[in-house]
């Protein structure tokens, strides 16, 4: 507990001092007598002040939440002292965690009494939030001393990004030789029809297409496309963001990345994550639910950190970028380093798609002619960047958080179908 004198002490001492000085100056002892009780009040207050002994316990009803949910925080306060006390208490809050009630609560505790207070914590976005401690303030009975403290544990509240439902994904141009849900370009055992060809030795009888064979008077077999899995690398750009209050492009980018990770893992793809920004973090490719938890957990730590460091493709470990992987870069395209990175990956033959989180919603145009012209120029420059990427064969899905991600990905698929010759280069 941090104990200090209450602001009223200054007033009391001023009155007492004035009375004493006036008494000395005028030679009237009545004034000194008049001032003495003020001094006595301060002295009594100091003598009566005993440091409060409090035990605080904080408890969360739920330690893991989805964005938009809220949890109850129960604070149990026990007065270990033999005298009662009056308390003001508030739960510490941050810019990303709203707490109700936000105003301090007044509380009176009797000797050895225990009570509970409930707060509601509502995170404003995904992430690892800290709940607590409690900020407390108490006074002695005469209001002369003021004790302040921050007591109670700091609890960790993990808030997972809210994901969208995706029916359509970016179809990878190449697949891996594992069983999955993507129709591969090659021929093999599968469901999707590929072609007919004359029977050759080694073909199985069940492959024979009897209808075609009867029509052509010779044996023909049906060839099919196998269903294979693909490797997907999710590249999250954390170089820069546009932010308006509690929301920003990084928040949306993390939600999109989590959505894509869940959708691809559900289709039995191997998914890797690269957090590409001032700090480089990655998770190697893997299948399954465990990988989804790993990815979402890693995403919760995503932060924009300012850096001048230039990062090239070489800084990403090779094992994280498997050959023939589909690279989905989730970026606001606000930093030249990210644009260079995806261009460089494409130039090296990688199959790259950009999910552009539009920063326009978070960036209102400035006032005045200069700022308005700069804003229009900025929009045109961003279009030029997009066109530059598309000329390399990189599909760009422009997505803002108010709309669904699926249609944006469908546009990319349409682009990829039309630019197949570029992609296969």
């Amino acid at each position: 507990m941090n104990t200090s004198l209450s602001p009223r002490v200054a007033g009391l001492l001023t009155v007492a001092g004035t009375g004493a000085v006036a008494g000395l100056a005028t030679g009237r002892p009545e004034l000194v007598v008049l001032a003495t009780p003020f001094l006595l009040l301060v002295a009594a207050g100091l003598a009566l002040a005993v440091p409060p002994r409090l035990v605080i316990e904080l408890e969360l009803t739920r330690e893991r939440l989805l964005e938009g949910d809220q949890t109850r925080v129960t604070a149990t306060i026990r007065n270990e002292h033999d005298s009662g006390l009056e308390l003001e208490l508030a739960l510490e809050r941050s810019a990303r965690l709203a707490v109700e009630p936000a105003e301090p609560i007044m509380l009176r505790l009797g000797p050895r009494e225990q009570t509970s207070v409930e707060f509601t914590a509502a995170p404003l976005r995904w992430g690892v939030h800290t709940v607590g401690p409690l900020a407390l303030s108490t006074r002695d009975p005469l209001g002369i001393t003021l004790a302040r403290a921050r007591l109670g544990a700091q609890l960790t509240l993990r808030v997972f990004p809210r994901e969208q439902q995706l029916r359509q994904l970016v179809a990878p141009s190449r697949t891996q030789p594992f069983v999955g849900s993507h129709v591969a370009r090659g021929r093999g055992d599968g469901i999707e029809f590929a072609d007919l060809r004359p029977f050759t030795s080694g073909d199985r009888v069940r492959q024979v297409n009897w209808r075609a064979s009867a029509r052509r008077q010779t044996l023909y077999v049906t060839e099919r496309h196998p269903e294979h899995a693909s490797d997907v690398v999710l590249l999250l750009d954390t170089f820069a963001e546009a932010r308006a209050g509690a929301t920003g492009t990084l928040d949306a980018a993390v939600r999109a990345t989590a959505t894509l990770a869940r959708a691809h893992l559900a289709r039995r793809d191997r998914v890797a994550l690269v957090d590409f920004g001032a700090t480089l973090q990655w998770l190697g490719p893997a299948f399954g639910t465990t990988q989804l938890y790993r990815i979402v957990d890693a995403l919760l730590a995503s932060e924009i950190a300012f850096s001048y460091a230039w990062r090239a493709v070489e800084s990403i470990p090779r094992r994280v970028l498997p050959p023939a992987a589909l690279i989905l870069a989730v970026t606001a395209l606000l930093d030249e380093r990210s644009v260079r990175l995806v261009s460089e990956l494409r130039r090296r033959g990688a199959d790259v798609t950009v999910v552009e989180v539009s920063p326009l919603d978070y960036t209102p145009p400035g006032h005045g002619l200069t700022d308005a012209a700069a804003y229009r120029l900025w929009r045109l420059e961003r279009e030029a960047i997009r066109a530059r990427l598309q000329s390399l064969g990189i599909g760009v899905a422009v997505w803002d958080e108010k709309s669904a991600l699926g249609p944006a990905l469908e546009e990319v698929n349409a682009f990829r179908r039309s630019a197949r010759h570029v992609l296969s280069a």
């Binding site: 009223r8 003020f38 510490e92 809050r93 932010r243 920003g248 200069t370 308005a372 012209a373 700069a374």
Partner: protein, 136 residues
């Protein structure tokens, strides 16, 4: 007797004043949960352009060295969508399509400005050029 009465009166008055002060309402809201400031960040990409537009308005060198390459790239990309390019355009076609001022700025092999003290491109003029580009 009078003196004693006076003393008693003063002491009573002092006690009354002190009790009055002690009974004054205590100030409330002495504590607050700490709250980090909510940030709002404009993209560096946009801030750079705002600076560039501002400087290009007064300095022709800035306009030529920094604003021109940007306008050239934007023009190229937008013209490419309709199968045209700056390099293949004649002066007459370029001026007709882009307007005299924009064509003069983005035309290939534009010489370095001779008059270094000449004014640059005013925001109003730039806005007109952007309007042309947006229409392409």
């Amino acid at each position: 007797m009078t003196l004693l009465a006076e003393i008693a009166l003063v002491v009573l008055a002092a006690v009354a004043v002190t009790i009055g002060v002690a009974l004054l309402p205590k100030p409330v809201r002495t504590i607050h949960g700490r709250r980090a400031p909510v940030s709002a960040s404009r993209p560096e990409q946009l801030i750079r352009l705002e600076r560039l537009v501002g400087m290009s308005a007064t300095d022709t060198l800035q306009a030529h060295a920094y604003l021109r390459p940007l306008l050239v790239e934007i023009s190229q990309r937008r013209l490419a969508a309709s199968g045209r390019s700056l390099e293949q355009m004649s002066d007459a076609d370029g001026a007709r399509l882009l307007g005299d001022r924009l064509w003069d700025l983005v035309r290939p092999n534009r010489p370095f400005p001779e008059d270094r003290d000449a004014p640059g491109i005013a925001p109003r003029e730039l806005a007109r050029m952007l309007e042309v580009l947006e229409r392409l």
